[in-house]
Symmetry: C2
Subunit: 276 residues, 2 copies
């Protein structure tokens, strides 16, 4: 593992690291904020999964999460959204290939050898963090924005017992039924929709739900709301009687100004589960 940068921030350290990833068969970069408390021993960790076109960097500099994580004594990890590099397949569209991993393990060419973001986020990176940093693997929570909200929700439901809480900001809620999803799931996983089910938060909610609290915020003026389909997940949550808070926030759009506006709430929500 290589340290690309470390900056003191909010009493702790905002680091950026790269490492050779086995899951993605390429070098991967991630951001990690460690609060001051990490100097004294392992701290809980909140995963932040980013959306289409993002790298590890966008949320790290724009979401304003560190101030609240420092207040709560929680680490933040910001993974990249896909494998990267010259040997890695890509597409000219912004919503497929590099920057658009969708948190799945691709089985189809040309994506299969590198696009294994599920394994990367679910297995490889958590092990690396627990080995190399003062992170408590027994106290993890997960959140994300847009495609990253999709990732957070599907990972949380797909790995029972792993995360104590899950939240999402403007998540893609029902990718099987959206142009933000059907195209990518077909490309990465093939046309058989059975393989898609665990990568669709609405279908996962119908199938098994989540054993913990859920918080989801979406702006009423989100310019992509028709692609996000919050109504599908809302219906599934209500049908399942799932413990959850879903909020439609008047006037907010899909931008990081929306994300940062509600970051305090989301970090406090996870802190309650992680420290409770």
């Amino acid at each position: 593992m290589k340290t690309l940068s470390e900056n003191k921030a909010f009493g702790g350290v905002q680091g950026v690291y790269s490492h050779s990833s086995e899951a993605c068969a390429c070098d991967m970069t991630f951001g990690l904020f460690l609060p001051q408390e990490a100097a004294d021993g392992p701290v809980p960790v909140l995963w932040y999964l980013s959306g289409l076109t993002c790298t590890h960097e966008n949320a790290m500099i724009k979401a304003g999460a560190q101030v609240w994580a420092a207040e709560q004594g929680i680490a933040l990890v910001f993974p990249d959204t896909s494998p990267r590099g010259e040997g890695v397949a890509d597409d000219e569209d912004y919503d497929l290939g590099q920057g658009a991993g969708f948190y799945v393990n691709a089985t189809e060419a040309p994506w299969a050898p590198h696009f294994r973001m599920w394994d990367y986020v679910a297995e490889e990176l958590p092990a690396l963090l627990a080995d190399s940093f003062a992170i408590d693997p027994d106290r993890q929570a997960i959140t994300g924005h847009s495609m990253g909200g999709h990732g957070a929700l599907t990972l949380a439901m797909g790995l029972p017992g792993r995360y104590r809480s899950v939240s999402a900001l403007a998540p893609i809620c029902n990718p099987s039924a959206s142009d933000w999803g059907a195209k990518q799931l077909t490309a990465y996983l093939g046309a058989d929709r059975d393989a898609w089910a665990r990568h669709d938060a609405t279908l996962a909610m119908r199938a098994r739900g989540f054993d913990g609290p859920i918080l989801i915020d979406t702006g009423t003026e989100d310019q992509f709301i028709d692609l996000l389909r919050p109504q599908a997940l809302a219906e599934a949550i209500a049908e399942r009687r799932q413990q959850a808070t879903m909020r439609l926030q008047p006037g907010y759009d899909h931008s990081y100004f929306f994300v940062s506006s509600f970051m305090e709430d989301h970090v406090a929500f996870h802190a309650q589960a992680l420290w409770g």
Copy 2:
């Protein structure tokens, strides 16, 4: 004036606007955060002047100021750091020309016709804001980072009565005696050092000081601290018996992670002066 974007943020609106500037003889772009309270009438305003290479956008997305401004009911304005455009002179160095206006009115060729950032920030933009938005011109305060900290301090001392409070993060404190300053002041104002004096915070402090509170933070690990020369301003403040707080923050560097770490303090400091 043209609205480039408006995003709801922290209950208010983060806007980006452009207008034809008379002072700079080109189109200029600025960011403006208006808190919710601006819907009911004029609110106080805190100016944030940015550093070398920055546009109006950097602090707007990375400094994390809006959350605290919203809490305090204060507007934030993020001007650009220089005139821009194809007809505007530039230099291949990052620290001269576009992105490096140094908040002066240039008198020397090729800079003179456009590089009038002092007049832009001191006169033209405040008038435009007071005319077009719910901003109270009688309650202004100013802050900035690096070159913007230099701008904030020199404008505050150069315009007595204008700002109720001034603060700075890692400001260039003594440009006459620094490679971040002597080069640019020579280029923009000529070799006569008398013309530089009001654009050097240390010299302005010696000459007249500021009629209000001052807060200055600099990181002990700031990689540019030799160029900033906080010791010169500290000495001048102490000699003058100027009301001020100067803090050296252990471990922090020159980055926006440093800026955002202390933004809560700076906004609270100005709020006390603006609402007091």
